[in-house]
Subunit: 110 residues, 2 copies
């Protein structure tokens, strides 16, 4: 099928999964790293930096915008994309909530 059965999971599970999913592509990781490093970016910079077509980069930027981790502001002919600090911290907190848990291994696996 290829259709995730979202309705059988909790909102939290769906939300967390969609955050992970949005970060689950090397181009989107590269874009994030570039934005963090450059403090901002425009799409054409990325087209030059990465080896992907402009349309493709734009799609990936939209995926990142959809989870709110970046935001774009029109800057003349270009668009300036930045990290959304608020969302960034929220995502960080959600990941921490999962990964900061105590994960003692049961005796059966040791």
């Amino acid at each position: 099928m290829g259709l995730t059965k979202s309705e059988i999971f909790t909102d939290d599970q769906n939300k967390l999964a969609s955050l992970f999913k949005a970060l689950g592509h090397p181009a989107r990781i590269a874009i994030l790293q570039h934005i963090i490093h450059q403090k901002a970016c425009i799409c054409n910079d990325l087209v030059d930096e990465l080896g992907l077509a402009q349309a493709t980069i734009s799609q990936h930027l939209t995926a990142l915008k959809n989870i709110g981790i970046i935001q774009g502001t029109i800057a003349g002919k270009s668009v300036c994309y930045c990290i959304n600090e608020q969302t960034w911290k929220e995502i960080q907190a959600e990941f921490n909530a999962l990964f900061s848990q105590d994960v003692k291994v049961n005796t059966c696996c040791s």
Copy 2:
């Protein structure tokens, strides 16, 4: 296409993306949470808990095994899946390396 151009990204970017990707499905989040909560689990528990077929659960377990975040040990007729503490900590560290960065927003976006 549908084919990610892995060769144009760094190993680190591909690795990190594949970690995120493996966690980017609500069933796999639910499975992880169940394992953490129960300290262990067998596949049939999950088939009862979640509303997915046994074959589907098995596939998701394999996806989680592939990134090493869980490991399975044969326990009689069943398989006992547990968190792999070592890998768990490594993944946690990789996520922290990304998210602990300072993300000052450029003036153009504020």
